[in-house]
């Protein structure tokens, strides 16, 4: 009897419970990009870009839009996305969202907190999409800009961010949870990446723009958007973004450094280039009396990628000299960026406050409430050591072997 009941339970668990949350792939639309604009009648205006998969099939290449967008107004994100099917045939799946475009108006006036909560709450959203603040154009245009290589626009943006991060470092590498952590944190201000459209977005919308070799519209990365709590405070340039990343975790980048001593005026402008390969940075915050000090130690390994200076690369001294020059140059760059953030925003986007929290908890507790002011008046000390490891597959530059003109 017991056995029979057990079997009955097993069978009914199959027949009565299963399949309730299964969805066939042909019944869903994969959303790759979401754009949030201020609404005209209601609070938000949400645009979703979902993939038109059959266009992307290699077997049936036929002309058509790789993504389709749908725009709707409403007061909250879940509400709007639930109503999306008034115009979209399939169930929208948000798990593959690659880019979240937020109109700067929304970020400035409303703050992003209210809809970030719904994103964090929703199990569908992964923690790997990019939060992008749109500069200039309204956010809804961004998911529509076509690209001939990466046919799904939001995938293109994601890939482009990945690549720049790997090669140069123009994206702060902030994900949803990082952003939310930074909002909550007392010792760090949140940042996000910002994007702009270069060219004519109306033309970029058209799939036929893929026929042109020079895209009529392109989405460009435009540096960091700095937030005060969940409200947009301002922007930093791409250079500053790279410098910011240098203090955090930089994969690799490229710097061009003038040959002459700092401040020395040269007749010709000559430079050498370093490809930075390997980075270590530590942040320290401490107080000397009442004065906060911010200290950043940076150790970078570099590869020489171009050499216009007329110096002998077969000698050790040259390398030491170049290392010194570049250390100084990089240091000045980074100090300038930190100073700029201190002066312009007074917001600690670097996480010096968090460092203080780890290193001197008592003091951190004391200054917690007014940390941003403390940050703004703090002394900055950056130590950079650049170590040049290699000089490519050449040591002496051929430029140094060109016979010198007798007139000189």
């Amino acid at each position: 009897m017991k056995k029979r009941i057990f079997i009955l339970i097993c069978i009914s668990s199959f027949l009565l419970t299963g399949c309730w949350d299964s969805t066939e792939l042909n019944d869903v639309s994969i959303v790759t990009g979401i754009a949030i604009d201020p609404g005209k009648e209601k609070r938000y205006r949400l645009t979703v870009g979902y993939v038109n998969a059959s266009i992307l099939s290699p077997q049936i290449p036929f002309e058509g839009a790789p993504v389709s967008v749908m725009t709707l107004e409403g007061n909250s994100l879940p509400e709007i996305s639930a109503r999306m099917n008034i115009g979209v045939s399939r169930k929208l799946v948000f798990s593959h969202t690659r880019a979240l475009y937020i109109n700067e108006e929304v970020a400035k006036n409303d703050g992003v907190g209210s809809f970030l909560d719904s994103l964090e709450r929703n199990p569908q959203f992964r923690n790997d999409f990019n939060i992008l603040i749109t500069k200039g154009d309204s956010a809804e245009k961004f998911p529509t800009i076509n690209d001939p290589v990466e046919r799904v626009p939001s995938l293109k943006v994601q890939k482009q961010i990945k690549s720049i991060l790997k090669n140069w470092g123009g994206d702060p590498r902030v994900r949803l949870t990082d952003f939310i952590d930074a909002i909550v944190s007392q010792g760090r201000s949140p940042i996000a990446s910002s994007v702009t459209i270069e060219g004519n977005p109306e033309k970029g919308k058209n799939v036929e723009s893929n026929m042109e070799t020079k895209a009529p519209a392109r989405i460009l990365l435009a540096g960091i958007a700095v937030f005060e709590k969940d409200k947009l405070a301002g922007y930093l340039s791409l250079e500053d973004t790279r410098n910011y990343l240098w203090t955090q975790k930089l994969e690799s980048t490229m710097v061009t450094i003038p040959c002459g001593k700092h401040g020395e005026e040269l007749k010709e402008k000559l430079y050498f280039d370093l490809a930075i390969m390997n980075n270590k940075s530590t942040i320290k915050t401490f107080y000397k009396g009442d004065q906060p000090h911010l200290k950043v130690d940076i150790y970078s390994e570099a590869r020489l990628t171009s050499m216009q200076c007329n110096e002998d690369l077969s000698k050790k001294e040259t390398y030491l000299d170049l290392e010194q020059k570049s250390s100084k140059y990089v240091k000045d760059m980074i100090v300038a960026t930190i100073k700029k953030v201190q002066d312009e925003f007074g917001l600690d986007i670097f996480g010096f406050g968090e460092a203080l929290h780890r290193q001197n908890y008592q003091k951190a507790k004391e200054v917690e409430e007014k940390w941003d002011e403390e940050f703004a008046r703090a002394d900055v000390d950056v130590n950079v050591h650049v170590a040049i490891r290699r000089s490519g597959i050449r040591n002496k530059s051929f430029l140094s072997e060109v016979p010198a003109n007798k007139e000189d």
Partner: protein
């Protein structure tokens, strides 16, 4: 011994001193008595074999005595019979008339293999086994002469377990040939074969082989006992025996190892296993067998050890692929779209665009089609065999995709699964994955990845519960033994593999005691 006592509950050995014939005919209506009178014996033989055309009873004279030669003409070579038995010169001189059957044999058939039959049962048994039985009037025993030389299949290359390097002989249907193939490889007086006669109607010879200095007594007794308990009508292949002696029938996994390779059986014997050879079957069984046996090919031991170790890992991988790949596809594409990389998801979605069936139906359809084709391919006469592959490749591979009935990624999955399922060197094991796959697809369709995992957990629980002749089926992995790992997932070189598997409790657990790692000769200053 404590553990092995626990593993093998010993029962009393039922076997008495009775000879095979007595046992075989004890339930039948054949009288046992052998008479002195030739006529009586002839009459009862004729009674027994009266309707059989190939039975003959030829009267001859041996000296002064009346005699007759009885035999089944189809069970022996009739020319040898004529030469050696019927044509012997029969002297009629009275002086040296042989008195008893021993003298008769000595005089007339001195060079032939013989046996005496003192009961009528024995006579019948000998006739059935292809002997020529000479019954002499007035004697208490009959003389059975072995003629032999019947037709049998020659030793050929194995057809199901082919290897590239290694011996190419395979077992045949003849039990004596098979035993000789084993004996040729193990020249050891302790290699013992015991015979059993099983099958109420067929009286098939079944031999168990073991090396008495290695094999554990308890395992041996268990095998004997299980074989003696068999009471079935017919034994036509070792498969019949296998089903009667397994520890558990309700399992898709084979609990008895079978092979048609003598070298493979020999290595099992030398590990301490028992071989079961059934007359008429080219597949010899080895017990006890464990899960990992089915991932080992005898060629693993004939190639340098690195590659076989790699290939073993491939085999385990392909076992898992054959088992779970289709269900993973179902689970991921209908429940967990978020688990796939975006690009992959988009391209799968692009291919599924326009497919009218849900993923489960789609995959069931294709898997069933494949199973049907496989079955047809096996059963089809060789001459039309190619039709299956052509039709199959066209139907499955192209037409179905082009017609939009299935997506092309599914064809890849079904094809890959099918190929992966053939990787196991033992065919009966790959059958197991075929069956489980369908159940697993159902689980995946109903519960998604959760179902797949649930099923795998159930499967592992089931596997752990299995035993083969008392030995845990997952032995050396599930009761984990570090010393046994030298020949499980990897094959260590021969000099490093010194011990017999401990789960078999061999009488001599160590194969080689010496350190034998080869090294270059010590050379000093260019001289030895």
């Amino acid at each position: 011994m404590g553990l092995s006592d626990f593993l093998f509950k010993r029962r009393k050995n039922k076997k008495g001193d009775s000879t095979p014939e007595e046992e075989i005919f004890q339930n039948e209506n054949i009288s046992k008595e052998y008479f002195k009178s030739l006529d009586k014996n002839k009459r009862s033989l004729h009674e027994l074999f009266k309707q059989t055309f190939d039975f003959s009873c030829d009267d001859i004279r041996l000296g002064e005595s009346e005699a007759c030669v009885c035999y089944l003409g189809t069970m022996l070579n009739i020319h040898s019979l004529t030469d050696k038995v019927l044509n012997v010169p029969r002297e009629t001189s009275v002086s040296k008339n042989p008195k008893n059957i021993e003298e008769i044999r000595d005089r007339y058939f001195p060079t032939m293999a013989f046996e005496y039959a003192d009961t009528f049962h024995k006579v019948v048994w000998h006739i059935l086994n292809g002997f020529a039985v000479i019954m002499v009037d007035g004697q208490e025993k009959a003389l059975s002469l072995e003629i032999g030389d019947t037709e049998k299949r020659a030793i050929t290359e194995p057809s199901t377990q082919t290897i590239i390097r290694g011996p190419k002989e395979a077992f045949t249907e003849d039990i004596n040939t098979n035993i000789s193939l084993i004996r040729k490889r193990i020249k050891n007086p302790y290699l013992i074969f015991e015979d059993f006669y099983i099958g109420g109607d067929t009286k098939t010879t079944v031999a168990i082989g073991y090396v008495s200095t290695i094999t554990n007594e308890d395992i041996l007794n268990e095998v004997r006992e299980r074989i003696e308990k068999i009471e079935i009508g017919a034994v036509l292949d070792s498969g019949n025996i296998e089903e009667m002696i397994v520890d558990k029938s309700f399992t898709p996994f084979p609990l008895v190892f079978n092979t048609e390779r003598p070298d493979s059986i020999c290595s099992h014997l030398l590990e301490g296993k028992v071989a079961l050879i059934v007359d008429g079957s080219p597949f010899v069984l080895a017990v006890p067998s464990v899960f990992t046996d089915f991932f080992q090919s005898s060629e693993d031991y004939y190639q340098p050890f690195l590659m076989p170790s790699f290939i073993r890992i491939i085999r385990y991988m392909s076992f898992m692929i054959a088992l779970v790949l289709p269900s993973l596809y179902v689970a991921l594409s209908t429940f967990h779209q978020e688990l796939m990389p975006t690009q992959l998801l988009i391209s799968i979605q692009a291919q599924r665009e326009g497919v009218p069936f849900p993923a489960v139906i789609e995959i069931f359809m294709m898997e069933l089609t494949f199973e049907i084709m496989r079955e047809a391919g096996v059963r089809m006469p060789r001459a039309v065999g190619q039709t299956v592959s052509i039709v199959g490749a066209l139907v499955i591979g192209q037409a179905a995709v082009e017609a939009g009935l299935v997506s092309s990624v599914l064809v890849i999955i079904v094809a890959f699964t099918a190929i992966a399922s053939f990787v196991s060197p033992i065919y009966s094991f790959s059958i197991a994955t075929r069956l489980l796959r369908f159940v697993l697809i159902l689980f995946a369709a109903v519960f998604g990845l959760y179902g797949v995992l649930l099923f795998l957990i159930i499967m592992v629980i089931h596997l752990v519960s299995l035993r083969s002749f008392g030995v845990p089926y997952l032995a050396s992995v599930a009761p984990f033994k570090l010393t046994d790992q030298d020949d499980v997932f990897l094959r260590l070189p021969a000099w490093a593999n010194k011990r017999r598997p401990s789960y078999l409790f061999p009488k001599s657990p160590v194969k080689e005691k010496k350190k034998q790692k080869p090294s270059p000769p010590h050379v000093q200053g260019g001289k030895k």
